[in-house]
Amino acid sequence: MNVNVVTCPSCRNALPQAICNTGELAFCPSCETSVQVEVFPAFFQSTLTAAKAETIVESGTSSCFYHENKKAVIHCDTCGRFLCALCDLDIGGVHICPACAEAGRKKGNVAELETNRVMYDSAALVLAFGAFLIWPIAVITAPTAIVLAVLSWRRPGSLVPRTRLRSYIAILVAILQLIGLAGFFIILSNEG
């Protein structure tokens, strides 16, 4: 029997109903850790009927593109294929089919499906400041940092609000490093 329970994060034992949704801290009966538990209606959703695709019983009814004996309930907003309730993926209010979702995930053009992004401005900043550890590598890292910082303006940035401060700092530090290196080599050549 699959029973959904809220467990104590400390001892992993099921927490009693009496301490749920009280709005106050209460003690776990097993380990006496102070916990506050808020249970929401979705918790009981598993007892409800999950989305089921209706079988076609009469002729002339449109069927799902992926399941020919299942009744179509919606169409894919991307490719227009008819979909049954099982194949309908609601992503941020947009209904798409599994194939379009997979294609979107691979191409990275559906933001809701993205699980990570490379931050070129952060990479530029790491390179710019990393050069302080082994300064001769600044010959390579400083121009790379500038390229990455400029690239960050053209590439898709973070999904969350983020300023361009990192790229500006990276460019500034990299330029200062290049000036410093140029000065160093000029002094070195004059002495030689």
Partner: protein, 180 residues
């Protein structure tokens, strides 16, 4: 043409996970936990309609933090008392940093670990590391979740009461349970 406004609003707080630091953002229909490592951002979304429970566990780390701030303060205060003139001023300055740290720790209040439970995972929300902040966030989230899960609430009202068999065999209600 105006740019599309970013749907994410930052929830105050920052927390450390195993190898990255994390921030929490709120959109119209979901929470997003953003992990930030050197040059990579990872995203974990928790849709309001999927959140089953929020569990806040009070921890004692703030006492340890307080003790460490206090220890550091006493250490530098002792050095400041032992030396003269400029060195004394410098060490008092350093000691004052630690006393400010201690004050901030006390003002922020007790620490906690906050977890969000969905049908398939339970994840710690590292940015909600202080009890006061976690509880105020929960207050903020409660009406939003109630609205997002309104259809479940209606269906739940029509459900029969759930009775779970305990190991001893007698029926009992161990907690909020939902059957298969």
């Amino acid at each position: 043409m105006s740019a599309k406004p970013n749907p994410y609003k930052r929830v105050p707080g920052i927390g450390m996970d195993v190898y990255e630091y994390a921030r929490l953002y709120m959109a119209d229909d979901h929470l997003m936990l953003v992990g930030l490592s050197a040059w990579n951002e990872s995203y974990r979304r928790f849709f309001f309609r999927d959140i089953q429970a929020i569990v806040i566990r009070k921890t004692q780390w703030w006492i340890l933090y307080g003790a460490l701030w206090l220890l550091a303060f006493f250490l530098f205060a002792a050095i400041a008392l032992a030396v003269d003139d400029v060195a004394s001023i410098v060490f008092w300055g350093i000691a004052s940093v630690f006393i400010v740290g201690l004050a901030v720790n006390v003002v922020r209040g007790p620490t906690c670990s906050c977890y969000v439970k969905t049908a398939v995972q339970t994840t710690r929300l590292a940015p909600l590391g202080r009890l006061r902040r976690a509880r105020s966030f929960l207050e903020q989230l409660r009406p939003v979740l109630a609205q997002a899960q309104e259809q479940f609430k209606k269906a739940e009202a029509n459900l029969p009461p759930v009775v779970v068999e305990s190991e001893s065999g007698s029926p009992e209600s161990p907690g909020p349970t939902a059957g298969p």
